[in-house]
Every structure is written in structure tokens, then in C-alpha cells.
Symmetry: C2
Subunit: 371 residues, 2 copies
């Protein structure tokens, strides 16, 4: 399975695996794909630095990348205290009331003071770039489109290509104009921040718009070799998969005891119909697992979500409380419609081997249709 | 491009073309696909009978099919007068006010009394089946899922296979249990009545659920050979295309003078982002071209759409007025996200030739990736 994207990145398969887990990211790279570590959860650049050093040591010398969250337009910035003061009391009251109604206990009295997820802030995302460029990374991807041009230039000085997610043709064109090397065409099916156009329509549109000015990866709805073959048929040079790794054996985030987390149990049970696209996670539309938490926000009495980054600050303690309450019916987790195919826990290497084998079988199958 | 579906139906290419235009349907069949004539617009069975006789004579002896609209659950039934009386005055007032605001003139004083579209009624859809089975049809498809079992049995007695659209795996399973032969997996991208799951996820899910118990066609977002190759990679045995034929040279519905209709001009100008999924057309969620008409119904002061079949009766005169006003900014037309690729008017035969050539080129391209 060789494409321009796999050749350019020096990887065996053009399978890019986005994940917040360094264990999973390293396993993806070791298995021949490109593991891309999500940085948004690292409030402390020193912690990211330690984790990337671990990645350097645990990827058998193979390439890996990082993913940052940097909105194209600089959003509200400020200290934690400034931002907290911008959150309306009505919103806080709704969150408190909802958590009580859903039976989510408060944090333990001795719990560390929650800092919220500050990776949404431009200043913090920039610190992620600074730290990442001190490691042997092969890609910087931005989950919210084109990063500022000076960040792109900085990466290029270190020969690091830049990727940016796009949910519409116009975004893809402006990413390329800004100097982005790889456009990730992300269909409506995808988990996390996502647009309205389905992968079947979006991918060839973006491939045609980008032409020879960059590479295109397909994201949204991909978790099998058939889907990888479909993405390549649509013209993509590779695939970007995020959700599918959440139920691999190496994924241990949110699991205190080492067993399955409540989030993983909820993901394993969900069908493709059990997701919803909503602004409640970050302030921008993102696809999440549909649970009692997302349903509460869909009630007529729920307030409208706040803009980024305020919404994430508003719900950040709620996310911690939900995670610790370990109730699979009350989960706050971005995931795509491919969740319907996430029905067992397997090692990353096994998942990769199956993807490649099914891709090959699919190509053979449709080759027979052609004749 | 031979598959089980094309062999079973006796057609050259597994490309099923749904269209309300007999000229287009016949041209699709003549070009090697299966033209499928939409019957919902025929209130008078005798008119459908005449049109199908024309199809018999103008398809070079090649197979064609029909598409009916028969909800699985029998909806509100009754005479035109009964049904009219169930429409709230508030809804009528909103439609009148909106048309006035959008500058849509009333019908000419001598216009025929509008009967509304009665094809939504079970009794009328049954008359379509009765008439169609007296012609040499090769397929009965139902746009709203499984038709009643006695209708399926009736078709099977005449060796006519039955197809049903499905937007979710559960629907596909129940269609097969009812005796349906061909499941059309219709993704969120599609025009007309459509569900929430994107084609990339839905098609392989339905293929796996149906297994050897039936054939699966992919619908939603298909208008190029790359997209056909993607659909076959996902496991479909063929494709079901509807929107894409609306801008072929043979499509003349709604065009009084023989030139482009206002609807066609609007479709040619639209991008993939210019559609919306709404209940305003029939009472069930359907994807339409986004225009001033759909936007008016999305305003906070707009009433909720009525259930099927009342909503269509409510808006049926509005649809006639809109069609006659010929303003491309005020159009009421089902279409999928593929509208972004509908940018020129071409004969059906040319469209088919391009689909097949691009399919072959795509299979060759991804064959090279495999090695």
C-alpha cells in the first residue's frame, strides 16, 4: 500500500493515526503507519516534552507526528481568571443541575484543582509547537484548519510538513494558500470538530481543488480496509483515522485500574447512530458519543453553548467528574460514526494488519469488476 | 463493470438511475444502466400507464424499473377534502405570508385546480404498482423502505425484484426479512428522504448485515466514476444515483420553454454546502436545495412541519407557484450534496460514458497502490 503520502512521510502504509495516547501513537508508528499524538490535553509544556522524549525512544526510529488545536482566528485569550469571569451564571447553574440529575458525584475533596484544558488557547498551542520541534517529529497537524503562517514557516524551516483539517473546499484552498502541505478532508461522519459534507462528496472535491499543490488525506468514517480503498478510490493519498484507536488494547487514558474505562465500554456498545454533532464540547460543532450528557444539552431548557474557548472551560470540570463517575451512560467523548464498527478491544498491530489485508483483498475484488 | 447486480438485472453497468423524467429514465436504460422512473408525481394511474407504454417503446428493449413512495406504516389516509381539513390555519397562513414575502405570484386565474401530490397516499401508490406490473418492468423500488409484504409477493409472482431504500442497518435487516431483494443503502449525503449516517459508514454496515440474503446498492453522494469505485470498494454491488440526472439534457420537467428551468439554473450554481435536510417537503426528513424557501422554514417564527402526507398537501400549491415564478433563488427541490459536482448540462449517454471511463481509470490507479 504505497502512495505519494507514504513515500513522502517515509512510512510503510499511508495510514495516519491520530490519538491522545502516546502508547497508541507509538504503536501505530511501530506498525508502519504514522502515529500522531494529540497535544491539546497537555497544559504543561514540560509534560509534553517528557512524553515526546518517550515517543523518540519507543517508536523503533520510525516517524511520528503531533496534532495541535489552533484556531485560524485567535479566539478570546486571557488568564484562567479572566476567562472564568466571562462564563454566565446561567450556564454554570445548568451544568451543576444536569450533573446532579445524572447522578455524577462531585470531585473528591482532595482532588487537584482543575486547570481546565488550556490547549485551546493560542499561547498554549504555540508552546506545543515549540516543544514538538525540539523532537524528531515528521508532521505537525492542526485540528482546526490552517495554523498562523509564521507557525507554518517555522515548521518548514525544520523540514517538518504541516497538515490541516478541512471540512469544505474553501478551507482546503485557503490552507494551501497559507503554505499547508497536507489537507485532511474530514467528512461529516468524523468524530470531533467536523463539517456538514459527507466524505463521499467532500474527498474528491478537495482532491480536485488541491490538485498538485498538496497531498490530501481522507478522514471521517474510516475503520476498515474497504473504507481505506474507498478513500483512495476517491483520490486521497492516504487516510487519517482517529476514533478507531480508542478501543485498542494500548489505549489506557481514563482507565484508573488498567481495565476498560467507562468511555471504552460505552464506545464498544454504541452503534453508528449513537453520535451527535454539537457545540457543547468546545464551542465549535464536534461529533460526540450520544449519551445522557449530550441529550441534556439538547433539551429545550438547555442554554446555547458558549464560543470557544469558553465552552470547554465551562465543561472542563464536568468532564473530569463524568470521567471519574465511570457511568457508561454519562460520557463526554468525541467519536465518529465509525463507532458502530468498534466492537472489540485489540492491539494496534492486529488492527493495522487487518486494515492492510482487507485493503489488498478489496483492490483485488474491484479489479475483477473492471474486466 | 460487471457485478452480481448488473448480471441479475441484465444490464451492462450496475448504475441505477432514479428520475421523475421518462426521457431521462429511458436514456439511462438505453446507455446501459437501469433507468428507474419515479411514479409519485402521477396522480392519475392512466397517465402513468401511457408513460410506461412510452418507456416500453423507447428503451431499445432494455430493462427499466419504477420507483414508488409507500411508507411502511400506512399514514393518514382519506379523501382530498378530509386531508385538507386536517391542516392547521397557522400553517396555511405561514405559507401564504412566506410566498408573498418571497415575491412568488399566485397561480393564473385560469390555472387548473391543484390536486396536490397524492402519490404519497398508500392507495395511490398501490395503483402505481398495479399499473407498472402490466408493463415489462424489471424492478420496483420503494423510496420509503419496505413496501407491504403483499405488494412484495405480488411483484415476485411476476418475477419482478423489489428494492427498498435504507438509512440504517436495522431498516436493511427488516427489508430483507420482509422479502426485499435489493437494499439501497442511502447515506446522509443523498437528496430526498435520507438518514443521518454517511455513505462511508452506512454502506459497509448494510453490506455486512445483508450478507448473501440480498444485493446492496450504494446511494448518496455519487456522481463520478471515482465515487462508483468507492461504493464498490465499500462492498456495494452497484450504485443508485438520483440527483445527478437533474441537469442532463434530457431532463425537461419544469421547463416550459424547453430551455433550462429555474430549478436547473439553481442546481448548476449550487455548491455541496448548499443543501439542507428538513421535513418541509413531505413531513419526513429530506435533503433539499438550500434556497430562500427552505431558509424561511428555518426561521424561529416558522411552524413545525406537519406529518406525512399533510405537509406535502400543505405545500403542494406553493411548489407549483414556486415552479411557475421561475426565480432560481426560490426553489423547492430535493437534491443531494453531489449538487456541487453538477456544473454543466450534458446528455445522459455522455454522463454514462464518463462514469464508466473514470471507474476503470480509478480501479487501475488503486491497483497500482496495492503492489
Amino acid at each position: 500500500m504505497r502512495t505519494t503520502a507514504s513515500d513522502r512521510l517515509g512510512i510503510e502504509y499511508p495510514i495516519f493515526g491520530f490519538t491522545p495516547s502516546e502508547d497508541v501513537a507509538a504503536a501505530i508508528s511501530r506498525a508502519g503507519g504514522l502515529g500522531v499524538l494529540g497535544c491539546v490535553r497537555f497544559n504543561d509544556p514540560a509534560e509534553l516534552d517528557r512524553v515526546l522524549s518517550w515517543m523518540d525512544d519507543n517508536t523503533d526510529g520510525k516517524p511520528y507526528g503531533v496534532d495541535i488545536v489552533m484556531p485560524a482566528k485567535v479566539p478570546t485569550e486571557g488568564s484562567q481568571l479572566d476567562l472564568e469571569s466571562m462564563i454566565p451564571a446561567e450556564h454554570r447553574a445548568f451544568v451543576d443541575r444536569t450533573l446532579a440529575e445524572l447522578g455524577v458525584p462531585p470531585l473528591a475533596a482532595d482532588a487537584e484543582q482543575a486547570a481546565g484544558v488550556l490547549g485551546w488557547l493560542h499561547s498554549v498551542a504555540r508552546s506545543h509547537v515549540d516543544v514538538a520541534l525540539q523532537h524528531r517529529i515528521s508532521l505537525i497537524a492542526n485540528a482546526l484548519g490552517s495554523p498562523p503562517v509564521d507557525v507554518i514557516d517555522r515548521a518548514h524551516r525544520d523540514q517538518v510538513p504541516v497538515a490541516a483539517l478541512a471540512g469544505a473546499v474553501g478551507h482546503a484552498r485557503s490552507h494551501i494558500a497559507d503554505g499547508v502541505d497536507i489537507v485532511i478532508a474530514q467528512g461529516h461522519e468524523a468524530g470531533g470538530h467536523t463539517g456538514e459534507i459527507g466524505s463521499m462528496v467532500l474527498v474528491p472535491e478537495i482532491v480536485d481543488a488541491v490538485g498538485d499543490d498538496g497531498l490530501v488525506l481522507a478522514a471521517g468514517g474510516i475503520g476498515s480496509g474497504r473504507q481505506i480503498a474507498a478513500a483512495l478510490a476517491l483520490g486521497a493519498s492516504g487516510v487519517w483515522m482517529g476514533s478507531y484507536w480508542l478501543t485498542t488494547s494500548e489505549y489506557r487514558l481514563g482507565s484508573a485500574a488498567g481495565g476498560l474505562s467507562s468511555t471504552q465500554r460505552a464506545l464498544l456498545a454504541a452503534t453508528s447512530a449513537d453520535t451527535v454533532r454539537t457545540r457543547i464540547y468546545s464551542g465549535k460543532p464536534a461529533r460526540l458519543l450520544k449519551t445522557k450528557w449530550t441529550q441534556a444539552w439538547a433539551q429545550p431548557d438547555a442554554p446555547d453553548p458558549l464560543p470557544m474557548p469558553l465552552q470547554n472551560i465551562l465543561v472542563s470540570e464536568a468532564h473530569r467528574r463524568i470521567a471519574e463517575s465511570a457511568d457508561p451512560e454519562v460520557v463526554a467523548m468525541p467519536v465518529g460514526q465509525i463507532v458502530g464498527r468498534m466492537n472489540e478491544v485489540r492491539p494496534v498491530a492486529d488492527v493495522m494488519a487487518d486494515l492492510v489485508a482487507e485493503f489488498d483483498a478489496t483492490v483485488d475484488r474491484i479489479g475483477a469488476v473492471r474486466t
